[in-house]
Symmetry: none
Subunit: 220 residues, 4 copies
DNA sequence: TATGAATGAGAATTCATTCAT
DNA sequence: TATGAATGAATTCTCATTCAT
C-alpha cells in the first residue's frame, strides 16, 4: 500500500471520515470491482470514486495513479487467496482426500471470487507489468506447491499415487481446469449451446475436474 | 462483416475491388494485433490505422465502429481456428493417437496464436457481448466436439477408453490445460519463480497435458 | 512546425475552415498572446482555443502538447524579429547613424511587440529548454551581430569609433538597455514613483539609450 | 507579512515563539526558491511545503494563499537587496570610484541572487499586481537613487562628469546592462553560440558594463 | 476508395485550499 | 503551533467519431 496508515490507536470518532486505513480499504475494494468488471483499460477512476463514495482526488492521494492502484488491487487479491489457502490444512488428510479437497477449494474460490480471474487476466494482458517486483515473494508464491509436493510424496510412499508428478504442473492443471471453464464461460456457453453455469453444470464440472486430476495421479 | 465486399463473385481482374478486400483484411489483421495487445478498452483506433498504414476514416467506412470491429476480429479468429481444425482428420487415427494429436494441435495452435487467447479473454471480460448472435452457429460451434464424441465412442468400443466421458467436458479440459498455462504465463512464472516459456518447459507442459488427458480417458 | 501543411495549391473554398495552414497560424497567434500574458505555467490551453476560435483538440492535433506549442511560438517569434531586422539595411548608413538606427529599431520593436519580451522571459525561466535545438541556427543567430561588427569596423577605420568593442557585448547592451526598462516597467514605475510609459518618458529613455551607446563607442 | 509574529518583542527564551518565526522564515525561503524556479504560475504549494519540510497547511496558516505568499517573498527580496545596499557607503568614495563600485555591486548581487531576477520577471509578468501598495515606500524605493544623484552632482562639480544625467535613467541602465545578460543568458548563449557564463565571460561583461557606464558619464 | 481536418465528450491527473483534530 | 485527511474546480490531454472533399 502506498501510504501506510497509523490508524490503529486512533479513536473511531466518526464512522467513515478521516480514517485513512478505512478510506484506503474502501478505495481498494471499489477499484477491485471496477477493474474486474472493465479491465484496466476500461476501468474509470470516476466510477471507482463513486463506488467508494469518496472523493476522486483521494484515490490519487493514496495510490498515486491508475496503474499503481491496479497493482495495489492485485497485491491485495494475492494476499486474500493466500489467506484462504492457509485455512485448508491439507496435511491432516489422507493424500487422495487432500487432493480432492484442494480441487474443491480451488473451484469454490474461483466461483466465489470471479473478480480474481478477471484481475489475473488483466495482469497478464499487461504482461505481468503490475506484479509486485517479487519483493513480497512470500506473498505471491503459494505455499500450496510445497504442500502439494508433500501430498504427492505421501501418496507415492503409500503406494496409491504414481511417482514423478511435478507439483507445479499439477497445481497449474488444477487451476487451469477450473479457471478456463469459469473465466470463459460466456464464450463456451455460446459455442456449445448450453448454459455452463447452472448448478447442475457446475457440479458436473467439479466432478469432472476431480476425476481428471485423480485419474492422473492415482496408480492405475 | 459490416460491409460485405463483392469480391467473392467479382472477377479478380478489377484492381480496385481487390484493393477493397485487401484493405479490409489489412485492417482486420491490424485490429487483431491491437486488440490482442491492449484489450478492447485499451486498444486505440489511431494505432490500428497506423498499424494498417491506412487512414483512420477507412476503418469506420468498413467496420462502423470500434465494437463492431472487435466483433469482426473475433469472428475472423473463430473462422481461422475452425479452418485449422478442418485439416486435422482425426477420424483416420486410432483413438488414443487421435486424442494425443488433438492435444498437440490445441497446444500448438495456442502457442502459435497467442492473440487468440487474449481475444477470448477480452470477449469474456465483456460477457460475450461481442459474440456473433449464434447466427453463424456453424462458424462457432466446433465440429471437433462431434469428432471427439466419435473418438471416445471408438475408444470405448475398442475397450481402451472408459465410458461416460462427456466430450464437451473433455474438450474444455484439453483447452483449459493449455490455455491457462499460456495465457497466464507471466503471472505463473513470477509466482513459481521459474520461466515457463523455455523450450524445455513448454515441452514438459505438453507431455503433462497429454498424460493428464490420456490418464483420465484410458481404462486403468 | 509540427505538421507541415500543403495548403499552397488548395483552392480557398472557405474563408476559415479546413485550411490547415491558416488554422495553425491562428493557433500560433492565439498561443503567443496567451503565453505572453500569462507565461508558460499560467497559460491555459482552453483560453488559447477560445482566442483562436478553434477546437481545443485541434491544438493537440497540430502541436502535440503545451510545451511544443510554446516552442513553436518561440520559433515563430524569432523568425518574426529576424524578418524585421532584414529590412534595416544598416550597411548603407554612416556608422554613427547606423548605430543610432539600430538602437531605435530595437526600442521600437520591443515597444511594438511586448509579447516578445515576455516570451523571452518565459523561455529563460525554463532555462532555454524550449529553444529550438540550434537546428535552425540561422533562424536564431542574429545576422545583426555580423552587421554590427562591420559598422564598428567602419567607424573605427573612419576614426570616429574607438577600437576593441565586442559586437556581441554591444548588441546585448543595446537590447538590455531597452528590454529592462520595458519588461520591468511596472516594478520600476512603482519603485521610482513615476510612470515610465508616458510618451515623454519613453522618448527620454530612447534618447538616453542612444546617448549611452554612442557615448561608449564614439571616440572621446 | 500576513500574520506578524510577535517574536520581535518577545523574550527569546520561549521555544515555541522562536519556532513560529523560524517556520515563517523557512517557508519564505522555500517559496522564494520555488517561485524563482517555476514562476508564479508554475510554482506548486506542495513543493514549497516539501522544500520547507513543513506541512502544507502551515503555509496557509501564515500566508493566507499563494498570491500573498508570493507578495511576501517579493517584499522580502526587496528588503534583502536594500539591506545589502546599505552597506555600500558610496558617499565616502570619489565619484568615479563610487560609480564603478555601484556597477560592481549590482553585477555581483544579481549573480549571487539569480532568484531576484526571476522574481522580478514574475512580478512584472503579472503587471506588478503583487507589489506592496507603496505602503512601504521606504522598503521599495531605493535610497540609491538619492545617493546616485549626489555622486553625479559631486562628479559634475568636480568637473569629471558631464551634467544633465538623470540618476533614475542611469540606475535603470546599470541594472539593465547586468540584468538582461544574466536573466536571459540561456537564450543569449544559444543565439550567440557561446557560453556567456564562464568566469572569463562574466569578467568581460562586468568590464564592459563599467566601461559603458563610465564612458557615458565621464566628460569626454 | 481514400484522406486530412475537425470536434465534443470524456478521462486521468493536478492544484489550491479547507476540514478536523 | 502543527498536521494528515479530504475536496471541488480546474487543466491537460485523449479518444472515438464525423466532416468535407
Amino acid at each position: 500500500m502506498t501510504r501506510a496508515t497509523r490508524s490503529g490507536s486512533a479513536a473511531p470518532h466518526d464512522e467513515r471520515l478521516r480514517d485513512a486505513g478505512r478510506s484506503q480499504a474502501t478505495i481498494l475494494a471499489a477499484a477491485r470491482d471496477e477493474f474486474a468488471e472493465h479491465g484496466l483499460g476500461g476501468a474509470r477512476m470516476e466510477r471507482i470514486a463513486t463506488r467508494a463514495a469518496l472523493n476522486k482526488r483521494l484515490i490519487y492521494y493514496y495510490f498515486e495513479d491508475k496503474e499503481r492502484l491496479f497493482q495495489a488491487v492485485l497485491e491485495q487479491s494475492y494476499r486474500d487467496i493466500r489467506t484462504a489457502e492457509q485455512a485448508l490444512h491439507l496435511e491432516a488428510l489422507p493424500p487422495a482426500d487432500a487432493l480432492r479437497r484442494l480441487v474443491e477449494f480451488t473451484w469454490g474460490y474461483y466461483l466465489a471470487h470471479p473478480e480474481f480471474l478477471t484481475l489475473l487476466n488483466s495482469a497478464n494482458l499487461h504482461k505481468g507489468r503490475h506484479l509486485p517486483e517479487s519483493r513480497t515473494a512470500s506473498e505471491l508464491t503459494s505455499p500450496l506447491v510445497e504442500m502439494l509436493a508433500q501430498i504427492l510424496e505421501r501418496g507415492r510412499r503409500g503406494g496409491q499415487f504414481r511417482g514423478g508428478v511435478d507439483p507445479v504442473q499439477l497445481y497449474i492443471s488444477i487451476a487451469g481446469l477450473a479457471y478456463f471453464y469459469l473465466s470463459n464461460n460466456h464464450t463456451l456457453s455460446t459455442i456449445f449451446g448450453r448454459d455452463l453455469m447452472t448448478p447442475k453444470a457446475r457440479q458436473e464440472r467439479l466432478s469432472h475436474i476431480a476425476d481428471v486430476i485423480l485419474g492422473y495421479v492415482l496408480r492405475g
